[in-house]
């Protein structure tokens, strides 16, 4: 049996033309590729730091 209130919660307001600009600015541009690249770069930075520490020692 369909419950009206429960089903109603699944409906979201439509994006009106006036709100498109605000939505564009608010959207999160980060995707999985960015995260992976960030991760890889983070890993590289850590490796470089370890190498430097070893050299100093």
């Amino acid at each position: 049996m369909i419950d009206f209130e429960t089903e109603l919660k699944k409906f979201y307001p439509s994006l009106e033309m006036e709100d498109v600009e605000e939505a564009l600015y608010k959207q999160d541009p980060t995707d999985m590729v960015d995260m992976v690249i960030e991760f890889i770069r983070g890993q590289k930075t850590e490796e470089k730091t370890e190498v430097k520490d070893k050299e100093e020692k």
């Binding site: 369909i2 699944k10 439509s14 994006l15 959207q27 995707d31 590729v33 890889i40």
Partner: protein
């Protein structure tokens, strides 16, 4: 595929040949994004728009630079009636790749059709307003009106159609809800929300129809297997309408039969009731027309009769006038008589001795002109006759007697008649005229001439002889 580190074109290796960066994971991720895009494209082809949205959103979550996925997502949103979301995706795509991007064309198309765009925007506003009414709980009628207005402005607005169907379900307007959900299914085939609502309505209507059909003894045979199965509606396939097709066909055929029966009844009623009245009205009209035509005919006939009478009268008048005219202008007419008289006068004036010429003109004048002529005509004629009558008479008497002696009685009669007419006192001419008639065998005119002699010249020898001739003729 390009390297995320240096931007160089990547080859089949798991590392960048220019900068040496490890790209194996990167390649896997991009591959996953492309797979999601392909799935989204496939679903869009079969009109599973809700499924296409989720696949394309996944693709963009993995790789936001996938322009094709972003443009396609915008297109799917637009088809679902979500113009704001579509515009957002296309503008984002335009920012990522400003040139050689089909998103530019989509945006330009929207800008050209501002009127349509405003309509779709208004539809979205109405939907949001209706959603607000629904959340209030007590304003479902207002919500229904707002949603109907929204779908009027944008007939492909799937979310509005679904919400309207939900409101109708809440208000127990099952048929309206089913109608709106059918429209949703035509646009977005695989939408799970729509399918759930359709299933719910089917269950409710199944219970209602079975009870009605059973009460009429027309139970629905559910055990019959056919290509269209009631349970198919729960499967994810394109024949989602199968469950309701059989019931629709039954309803449709009964509607058609009822309409046909109604039409036949209407035709019978018109034939029995309306047609005779129309026929009699038409007949009355025809009779009236005939009456009017007959009256007109009578009037025309009377007119024709009257005109014919007028023609007759006119013809009589013409004849009369013609005869009058002839009396003036003919050979024996007045004009001719006047002309003869004038010619006689003129001849006498020019040569009084030439009695023959004068007599010739006077002979043309008919004695009947004396009665018809004017006073002046008669006066001139009498004067001329008094002046020349005796001489003319003498001349005719001589020629008449000469012809009598030569036994040319016809000629004698003519000349002696003229002699007597020019001079009534010429008894000899009258007496010899009688003799000429007697000799020619015309007893009647002879007796008449002798009697005139006796009457006009009594106690004369001519009278005595005339009496003798009369006695002789009577004895014969």
């Amino acid at each position: 595929m390009i390297c995320y580190n240096c931007g160089a074109e990547l080859g089949p290796n798991d590392f960048c040949t220019r900068c040496g960066a490890d790209v194996s994971l990167y390649k896997n991720i991009i591959g996953a994004a492309n797979l999601a895009y392909n799935q989204g494209l496939e679903k869009a082809h079969v009109r599973d728009l809700a499924g296409a949205v989720s696949s394309l959103k996944l693709c963009l979550k993995i790789d936001k630079t996938n322009i094709d996925a972003r443009n396609l997502l915008g297109l799917v949103y637009f088809e679902l009636g979500e113009c704001g979301l579509a515009l957002k995706e296309w503008i984002t795509s335009q920012n990522i790749r400003p040139t050689k991007n089909i998103a530019n064309d989509y945006i330009n198309l929207l800008n050209k059709n501002r009127g349509e765009l405003d309509k779709y925007n208004q539809a979205e506003k109405k939907f949001n307003q209706a959603l607000g009414y629904c959340h209030q709980g007590e304003s479902l009628d207002y919500a229904e009106i707002a949603l109907k207005s929204a779908i009027n402005q944008n007939p492909r607005y799937v979310q509005a159609l679904q919400l309207l169907a939900l409101v109708c379900i809440k208000l127990e307007k099952w048929e309206d809800a089913r109608r709106y959900l059918q429209r949703c299914q035509k646009i977005d085939v695989g939408n799970t929300t729509t399918l759930r609502y359709v299933g719910e309505i089917r269950n409710i209507l199944d219970m209602d129809e079975d009870s009605v059909l059973q009460s009429r003894g027309l139970g629905f045979n559910k055990s019959k297997k056919s290509d269209i199965d009631v349970t198919d509606v729960k499967k994810e396939s394109t024949d989602l309408y199968a469950g309701s097709v059989v019931r629709r066909e039954t309803k449709t055929s009964s509607i058609v039969i009822n309409v046909a029966i109604g039409i036949l009844i209407g035709i019978a009623v018109s034939y029995m009731l309306i047609l005779p009245a129309r026929i009699s009205a038409a007949r009355e009209g025809v009779d009236e027309s005939l009456k009017a035509a007959a009256e007109q005919l009578d009037a025309k006939t009377a007119q024709i009769g009257s005109l014919e009478q007028d023609i007759k009268t006119s013809q009589n008048q013409i004849e009369k006038l013609q005869s009058e005219l002839d009396s003036y202008t003919g050979e024996d007419g007045r004009m001719a008589a006047i002309d003869s008289l004038l010619s006689a006068v003129n001849s006498y004036i020019e040569n009084p001795e030439d009695m023959q010429a004068v007599a010739g003109y006077l002979d043309r004048i008919d004695e009947s002109m004396m009665d018809e002529g004017s006073e002046s005509f008669n006066a001139v004629y009498k004067l001329l006759m008094s002046m020349v009558g005796a001489d003319v008479s003498s001349g005719y008497y001589d020629s008449g007697m000469k012809a009598y002696q030569e036994e040319l009685y016809e000629e004698a009669i003519a000349d002696l008649t003229k002699a007597y007419s020019y001079d009534n006192s010429n008894g000899d001419a009258l007496y010899n005229l009688g003799n000429a008639y007697r000799k020619s065998g015309d007893t009647v005119n002879a007796l008449d001439a002798y009697e005139k002699v006796i009457a006009q010249f009594p106690d004369t020898e001519m009278a005595t002889r005339s009496q003798q001739h009369i006695n002789e003729l009577n004895v014969d």
